[in-house]
Every structure is written in structure tokens, then in C-alpha cells.
Symmetry: C2
Amino acid sequence: MSHKPFHHGNLRAVLLDQAEQTLREGGIDALSLRELARKAGVSHGAPRSHFVDRQSLLDALAERGFNRLADEVEAVIGSDAADYKQRFRAIATAYVHFAVTDAALLDLMFTAKNGNAPEGLRAASERLFAAFGDLIERSTEAGELRPQDPYRLQLLFAAVMQGIASLVTTRRISAEDGDSLVDDAIALLVRQ
Amino acid sequence: MSHKPFHHGNLRAVLLDQAEQTLREGGIDALSLRELARKAGVSHGAPRSHFVDRQSLLDALAERGFNRLADEVEAVIGSDAADYKQRFRAIATAYVHFAVTDAALLDLMFTAKNGNAPEGLRAASERLFAAFGDLIERSTEAGELRPQDPYRLQLLFAAVMQGIASLVTTRRISAEDGDSLVDDAIALLVRQ
DNA sequence: CCCCTAACTAGACATTGACTACTTACTAGG
DNA sequence: CCTAGTAAGTAGTCAATGTCTAGTTAGGGG
């Protein structure tokens, strides 16, 4: 066991963690492959073994973000404590909270160039939207939502979430205003 | 009158125009100050006379974008042809159209780092949101909208527009689906 | 035990944003 | 009219970055 092993072991995960924090602290402009390599104590070419591109790193970050959000959302949906309207609210609050603490990451997840995204990223975002759809389906079955085209409502819910999040990340409204706006939106969407 | 005048005359406007087109064709990664200078036939330092920063160029582009959108929105509001619900729809359609044709620019207008935006950009975005507020106020006065907190509704409308636009720019839904989603949203927001 | 390959190093290159010193041409004031 | 003064543009430089290539190391499967 040398002091400085040639093989880092989990460089990919370390790079992603550091990148996420850099994103949090300095925004996307502060994110450079070479700087990440320096902080990880590896050569400037090392990241290339795990990410062919800078874009590939960004995609991986976005994918992670979607999965983290999907985890939270699925956890809320799976909980059987609250009624469905409260679950909508909980999800929306989690979304706003994500937007506040990881504004730059959310940007990355919804950037225009993600039109032709790699499979992993596409799947991860799909997972989040599918969770929305799942909640809507369950709510409708439970009779807490008036029957309607579930896909339309899913898209609308996703749009409202992302829209409010946009207002928050760009500092046009505060996190608190975001939360109360969420309440307004859900009152409109989920009323029976 | 030399063939190649030292003073370009309107370099700033030319740079902005070219930048906008580059943004449209190649996204934000294709946008470089030096490349713009080359295409404009000036030295690589010339843009600096008009934009201290690359960020300053991006801010100017975003500002332009907001003003263009605000122009369209105000034009719709000012027209006295249609009823108010139709005006909402027209605005939303214009918004979606903007998102389709200038996805990267819209990204720039709603990027997270615009939290501390320069005055001009802040004012331009304010103009757009104020137009939304204006339409809501007029609609309410005309009795076509049930009375409610106008500011909340303005934010909600803005959020829904931007949210749907996000789904479109990221290619999660088509422009057509965006339009019909807009109809759904307005049906919810504007029903009396 | 050895070898094959993934992981990493080291060096190079073009491009870019940013800074500086200098030059040009337009403009206003006498 | 001419002459400063200044805005606009030029040319050169620098550090940083993404990307590529050739070589090196380690570690696990046959």
C-alpha cells in the first residue's frame, strides 16, 4: 500500500462529488476538468479515463441530479402517511429545495443542449417524470383526483414544478415565495 | 472612404446579431468572442470596446431576448381584437415559439447565474413580467378573470410559461405538444 | 506466474478570454 | 480650419483549458 497509489480506485465518484460541490459554490463557470484533477491529486489527463469529454462529465452530473430527485420523489410517493394532495405538496417542496441548494445543477439538467442526451441521462430524467405520472395515477385511483388525461396532467405538473424552480434559481422570487406559489399551483391542479 | 474603415461604425450591433445566430445554430458552446470578431472582420480585441467580458456579451444577448419577447407580449396585450383568454393563449404561443426557435437564448435568459444581473438585463426581464401583470389586471377589470391576488397569478403564469418552454427546449415534448399543454394550463388558470 | 488491459502519467498543441501598450480616426472647442 | 482629446480598433502576450497521443503502472483472470 503505497502512499500515493497509481490507481485511485474510485476516481470517478470522487470527481463527481467534487464537481457537484464546485457547481454548488461557484456555478458552472468554476467547473474545469483540470482543476478537478488537481483537487483529486491526479494528473490532468486522469479524468479522461472516466469521462471522454467535459460534456460527458456534465451529463453524468445531470444524470445524478435526476436520480437524486427521483429518489426523493419516489420516497414521498411510497410513503402512506399523508393524503395525495399533501404528497403533491411534499414533492413540490422537495423540488424547490433542490432548486435552491443546487441551482446550477438544475440548470444543467434542463439545458437546451440536452436534446440529444446519452441514454443514461435520458433514462434518469424519464424516471423522474414517470414518478410524477405514477403519483397522478394513484391519486386518480384513490378518487382524490378527478379523472382526466393523466399524461397531460403529468406534463403540466412537471412544467409547473420546473417553472417555479426557474423563478427561484434566477432569484426572481425567494424560496419562501416559491413554496407558497407551489401551494397555489397545486390548489389549481389537484382540486377535484 | 477606405475599403476597410478603421471604425466599424456599428460593431456592437453586428456582434450581437452574429452571436444570436451562432447561438441559434450551434448553441452556447459555439459562441466565442474571437470567432465573432473574425466573422465581423475585426481584430480579436475589438469586441472588448463594447463588451468588457464574455459574460457581458451574454448578458446583452439575454437582455435583447427579454426585450424582444416583451415587445411581442405587449403587442398582443395592446391589440383589442380578441377577448382576454385568447390573448393569454396568443402570448403563450409566442412564448413557446420563442423557445423553439431560440432555445439556447432562452436558456441564457433563465440561467442560474443571472441572480446578480446588471441593471439593463434586470430591467428587461422586469418588463416581460410586468406585461404579464398588466394583462392579468386588464382581464380582471374586464370581468373575464375572477378577482384574486394579481401578483400570485402573474408569477404562476410566468412559471407555467417558462416550465412548458423548458420541456420544449430540452426536447422532452414537441412544439405542438407545448401548444396544447399551453391550452390546458390556460384553461386552468383563466377559468372564471 | 504471467500477461492483458484498464487506469493513470506526462508532454504537446490549438483555442480561448483577458490584459496591455499602441495607433487611428472622429469630434468638439477655440 | 486646426487641433487636442477620446472612443474604437490593432497587435502582441499570457495563463488556463480541453483534447490528443505515447508511454507507464498495477492488478486480476487464465
